[in-house]
């Protein structure tokens, strides 16, 4: 069996020093193989950005391992070399901030090639034009500045800048949340096309379920640094096994108005009893309406079905309660 492109094995991340140290990620497992699109869903404070930064080697995990194609990587020198060869590329949320406003599209896309070196000017031009072609941009834009092109085009330039390095893995942090619905779908379609035509793996990180719609194979739901549910996206969002995932799905605005459960049924009311949870308790306990005494202990992720993990003590029981609320 071939090694997955990226493997996170029981990764803990702690940021800050001594008394101000805070555990941002706990026991995160993640596997990405070539040609896969993995969605990571997390709201404010879930640690999704930290996860991305750990994967690219900007942050060293406190425990656990990050492996690229089976090779253990450490933040710093070795990872820097891995990045230099361009195998893992990052696409940021807001192209207005991640693209230098004074550089032309050509200079922006060419930057990585120039840093890596070893190419003649005409080879660079060829590769930049090819990368722009892959993201569906006209090479007439080469001389434009970021401010002179539209929001959708700018995000495509960001993607082209990553693609020009021939990556195996693309990490996109909120790639479409600054775009309106039509542009969002265009960029998502582009990512889907890139996966099938180039065989690259893509991790899409977002707070918004619609940023994954239609393209992701698997989804990983993060809540306060822990993976609460992980599995095939259609199944996970179709019939969530974790109350938090269910709340996310019920809260996401959509035109398909049939909802098996409403957000109201999945929120705890103020008059309902709460279980005092100590630091070791389930991360979702203080918002969960189905909380009981056992929730004072963090549940382990169990495989509910092949390839579908959930970390909840009441994974099988809460749905019946919710329907009657």
């Amino acid at each position: 069996m071939t090694e997955p492109l990226l493997e996170l094995d029981n990764v803990d991340v702690v940021l800050g020093h001594r008394r101000r140290a805070a555990r941002i990620l706990s026991a995160v497992d993640l596997q990405v193989s070539a040609g896969q699109i993995i969605g990571v869903i997390g709201e404010t404070g879930s640690g999704k950005t930290t996860l991305a930064r750990t994967i690219v080697g900007l942050i060293e995990p406190a425990a656990g391992e990050v492996r690229h194609s089976g090779l253990k990587s450490v933040a710093g020198k070795g990872r820097r070399d891995a990045r230099r060869t361009g195998r893992v590329q990052f696409v940021f949320q807001d192209p207005l901030r991640s693209l230098d406003p004074d550089l032309t599209v050509f200079e922006l896309v060419a930057e990585g090639l120039r840093i890596r070196g070893g190419l003649s000017e005409s080879e660079i031009l060829d590769r930049v034009a090819a990368a722009l072609g892959k993201v569906g941009l006209d090479s007439g834009l080469l001389g434009q500045l970021p401010a002179q092109i539209s929001g959708g085009q700018r995000q495509r330039v960001s993607i082209a800048r990553a693609l020009v390095m021939d990556p195996e893995l693309l990490i996109c942090d909120e790639p479409v949340s600054a775009l309106d619905a039509s542009n969002r779908n265009q960029v998502l379609r582009l990512l889907d096309d890139l996966r099938s035509s180039l065989g690259i793996a893509i991790i899409v990180i977002s707070h918004d379920l619609s940023s994954l719609a239609g393209i992701a194979d698997r989804v990983l739901v993060l809540y306060r640094g822990r993976v609460v549910e992980e599995g095939p996206i259609g199944e996970v969002f179709g019939a969530p096994r974790h109350p938090y995932t269910a709340l996310l799905v019920a809260s996401a605005p959509s035109l398909g108005l049939h909802r098996p459960l409403t957000a109201r049924q999945l929120r705890r009311r103020t008059d309902e009893p709460s279980v005092v949870t100590a630091a070791g308790g389930c991360v979702f306990a203080d918002r969960c309406p189905f909380v009981t005494e056992v929730c004072t202990e963090q549940p382990r992720a169990v495989e509910a079905e092949p390839g579908w993990h959930v970390a909840c003590h009441h994974a099988d029981a809460w749905r019946d309660q919710a329907v009657n609320r």
Binding site: T44, L212, G214
Partner: protein
């Protein structure tokens, strides 16, 4: 959600005199930007009645935010109303001066925007900021203003202890609740929310939408909600006003518009909006880009992106017509019934 006892909804005498329930009526509004050089809103008409929520939806640059700003009397520098009227509770407010607006804004119209932090003073507790508004606008003495502020916090689902907290101590969702509390503090007739839930987490967004709906029902508020996301509008609004390139292209009840859109642009928007279906599929897109702000186009402004466009569409401006219980700006609206 804690539901606090609510103040009785009182109508002011001057409002009772008005027989219509129409709180806001915008008629054929035209707004220019860049010192009259470009027309950004080219004819927008809409009404919002008491107890009704109306959603403005459209892409960036479609004119929905400018229309909403014009309704609040807060157009930015270089922007001006060229023609058309804005009527608030029967009173023509199109050419009102800044001083006269002060009496309406905050008192009879409340507003909530995308980024609450930029509207709150970071060094004063949110409770004092709310009490200050109540004290000045309602003329209450300090002690009563504080009691009223706590009452308002509870009405928007915040605990009384929030009164003594600074904006930095509160999360985005809680700050937006504070902004809503400030907006409804003077018991306004109209609440304007411009992308008020856009920057929030989805679970919090759902709670804020529920809160706005509850306030609408309990207080008979008229709500004007602006968003680029049709799915959010669909959750919250009784009627939808669809903007495209500065024009209103379709207006009608939400359920009807979702079930059978009569304008090709509305149809396209429905296809690209979130459907609650997350499995793998081919995503729809709207081909092409909208015309730039102020572009001179002789016929229908959507014609270049429209699959149904005829030669006639490009020849002359298309007027708004009433088709099947809603207003549509399309020559082929009847044929598009699905």
């Amino acid at each position: 959600m804690p539901t606090a006892p609510l103040m009785p909804t009182t109508l002011r005498p001057d409002v009772q005199a008005v027989t219509t329930t129409e709180v806001l009526a915008i008629e054929d509004l035209q707004v220019s930007v860049h010192n009259s050089r470009l027309g950004a809103v080219l004819g927008a008409s809409l009404t919002v009645a008491r107890g009704e929520s109306v959603g403005l939806v459209g892409e960036s640059g479609s004119g929905k935010t400018l229309t909403c700003r014009a309704a609040l009397g807060v157009l930015g520098p270089g922007c001006a109303i060229e023609s058309g009227t804005v009527r608030f509770a029967g009173q023509d407010v199109t050419r009102l001066d800044a001083k006269a607006w002060e009496a309406i804004r905050g008192q009879r119209v409340g507003a909530v925007f995308q980024d609450p932090t930029s509207y709150l003073n970071p060094s004063i507790t949110v409770g004092r900021q709310l009490a200050e508004v109540v004290r000045i606008k309602l003329g209450l003495p300090r002690r009563q203003a504080k009691a009223k502020a706590i009452e308002l916090f509870e009405a928007v689902g915040l605990q009384a202890k929030v009164y003594g907290q600074l904006p930095v101590e509160l999360s985005g969702g809680m700050l937006q609740r504070v902004m809503i509390a400030i907006a409804v503090s003077c018991d306004p007739e109209l609440l304007v929310a411009d992308e008020a839930t856009t920057a929030l987490d989805v679970t919090i967004q759902a709670e804020i939408i529920e809160l706005i709906l509850r306030l609408r029902d309990e207080r008979g508020l008229a709500v004007l909600f602006v968003s680029h996301d049709l799915a959010v509008i669909a959750e919250l609004c009784d009627r939808v006003v669809v903007f495209y390139a500065g024009e209103v292209v379709e207006t009608g009840p939400t359920a009807q518009i979702l079930a059978s859109p009569r304008h090709p642009y509305t149809q396209a928007l429905l296809k690209v909006a979130s459907l609650g279906d997350y499995g793998r599929r081919q995503l729809d897109v709207i081909p092409g880009q909208p015309p730039s702000v102020g572009a001179q186009i002789s016929g229908c402004r959507f014609a270049d992106r429209c699959a149904f466009a005829l030669d006639a569409c490009r020849e002359a401006p298309v007027a708004v017509r009433e088709v099947d219980g809603r207003e549509v700006r399309c020559l082929r609206a009847e044929e598009l019934a699905s």
